[in-house]
Symmetry: C2
Subunit: 362 residues, 2 copies
């Protein structure tokens, strides 16, 4: 375990004076979402919680993880025997914030029954806000996940696409990830020909032909952290690809590059989206780009901030976000090009996606 | 779409007089859990809800699924534009049950704000109770998923295990599933030698040797429905395997067979567990079987009922459950043998797991 989890809990404790509803103070914060628990402690089991107050940081788990819990630095550990929720609630005192955006109505009711005089108040989102900005260790892990994804793209380019089914390509890619000890950070997309017109196509039995576009959207989760990268490839020889496909590709690439150029700390998620969207709109495909430009990536494949027309987020130095414009023409084909980048004070600090964006015929 | 989803919503409507808190009546049930929505309608998108009252069944979704929604038989469909939760809540009237075991505190608060005079009351678990007993179509789908898993076991047995890493075997198995258009119903377990002593071991870089036991626990999700099957294999030649491994295998197999013989409608989940557990306890390994005997399988890999020492469920005809005793000896090795069976009135109606349980050297 590194020292970072302890530092993160210090940051969290610093929020207690304003972490309650309407920025009211709370005495302690109970963190039960397992991704948030992993962020604070490094713990990756299926049952654990954190209780953070000004003076104490307690990690709670059950007997199955008693041994693993002792390895968590910077936290007192307590093992709850018997009923989990009663054990948790029985340890609460004063005004305690809980993650109202993760805890179900039923679970909250059971905790309140068992909480005695402690008052449970809504305080979700505090850990997620901390998670937006990544520290060096986190960026290193995301970069490692991105590097593994890029290596796999290299193998894909070598091996080629035409003549195999989408599902066969997916199986090969997913299997390779598992073989490396990683897992897909989401179900892969391998969308060929007309299937590329659907942003969230599922790989199917369609055999990939020649003279087609194929959109591959994939990432791994490695050491807890996710990567995300999309490339659209052509198949066959250059003479086999139609003009529409080339035009869509060139426009999407320009939008990707414009979006990347607009990323910087202080820029709003809606403004960055608009820069890329304008390129696509000006080319006459405004109606064919039906999703937001990007999203944060970290322990989860989709997390804050959001880059999109209705985003109210402002980018911060150290955030890791995707820039992924696309154009989808129903019945014809589609293109998406996605990079994963670290936000810097004056622009992209580092583009973690190193696979070429020149149109490759594979 | 088959007729079943309509029939299921009729069953659900029949529950309204007692579906509220303390078996009180409600005017309508709002179903938002996506697995429950899939059960009722066959819909598999990322946003949808069902509103069931005595006279109406309404399926709600957003513009992305407007076209797909029209294919759902037996339901009126409404497309919500604008804010999803406000659109949902604005359609509620009277005393409406919601899934308090799935809906977060925050979401429930937002819905209540937008619900006007409608009263939202806790009514979770109603669809899950319907889901326990599978109809013929569901059993057919689970059987198809089990058959695909068994086919993969056949390939695994042909190809052998020794000399490959656990992760490589996992990658090959997972990739094959994806290639068939299925997905793993849970992250596979390939636990070799001493790793087999952990019931939930993750496949790792360990190279599988000769004269070892290897526990493989896998299943696919196909057409919505899950399968689940565990076999423990030996590697090398018969003379290379130690006596402890043989003893654990034979005892676990006896426990599996005893558990299967005890499965029937009307038996309690705790009684069936005890029959299998007694075999392991009598052999001196009672402390080495630290999990329950089994669980229901359907749209989810773990669902009701539960077979275990503290289960309060009673088995019903048409339930599909696992029977999976195991013995885990820390530092040494482990065995688990799991079948997936359909509960019948007088015993197992059908064992969906057809892979041999004779100890194979592969």
């Amino acid at each position: 375990m590194s020292a970072e989890p302890g530092a993160r809990s210090d940051l969290l404790a610093g929020l207690l004076p304003t972490a309650g509803p309407d920025d009211s103070p709370i005495d302690a914060l109970l963190v039960t979402d397992l991704i948030n628990v992993e962020y604070l402690t490094g713990f990756t089991g299926t049952n654990g919680a954190c209780l953070v107050s000004a003076g104490r940081r307690v990690f709670l788990t059950d007997f199955r993880y008693a041994e693993r819990a002792t390895a968590i630095e910077g936290w007192e550990t307590e093992v709850i025997s018997g009923q989990w929720l009663e054990g948790l609630a029985g340890r609460l005192e004063g005004r305690v914030g809980f993650e109202d955006d993760h805890v179900t109505v039923r679970t909250a009711g059971l905790m309140r029954e068992a909480a005695g005089n402690a008052e449970l108040v809504a305080a979700g989102g505090n850990v997620e806000r901390l998670r937006r900005v990544k520290d060096e260790q986190e960026i290193g892990r995301i970069a490692a996940a991105a590097a593994m994804t890029d290596e796999l793209y290299g193998l894909l380019i070598e091996r080629g696409l035409a003549g195999r089914t989408e599902a066969a390509v997916d199986g090969w890619l997913t299997g390779w990830m598992r073989e490396q000890g990683a897992e897909p950070s989401f179900p892969l997309i391998v969308a060929s020909g007309p299937n590329g017109a659907s942003p969230h196509a599922e790989p199917g039995p369609r055999e990939i032909g020649r003279g087609e576009l194929v959109t591959v959207d994939m990432g791994v989760r490695l050491d807890g952290y996710c990567s995300d990268c999309t490339r659209t490839f052509a198949t066959g020889s250059e003479s086999e690809l139609d003009d529409l496909s080339r035009e869509l590709y060139e426009t999407t690439l320009k939008a990707n590059e414009a979006g990347l150029a607009a990323v910087r700390a202080g820029a709003s998620g809606s403004a960055v989206d608009e820069v890329a969207r304008a390129v696509i709109r000006d080319a006459g495909y405004g109606e064919n780009f039906g999703h937001g430009l990007g999203h944060g990536v970290g322990l989860e494949i989709h997390e804050a901030p959001r880059l999109g027309p209705s985003s109210e987020d402002e980018l911060l130095t150290g955030e890791v976000v995707t820039v992924e414009p696309g154009i989808y023409v129903p019945g014809e084909t589609g293109v998406r090009i996605e990079d994963l980048v670290v936000v810097g004070p004056d622009g992209v600090d580092r583009n973690l996606s190193t696979v070429t964006k020149s149109l490759l015929f594979v």
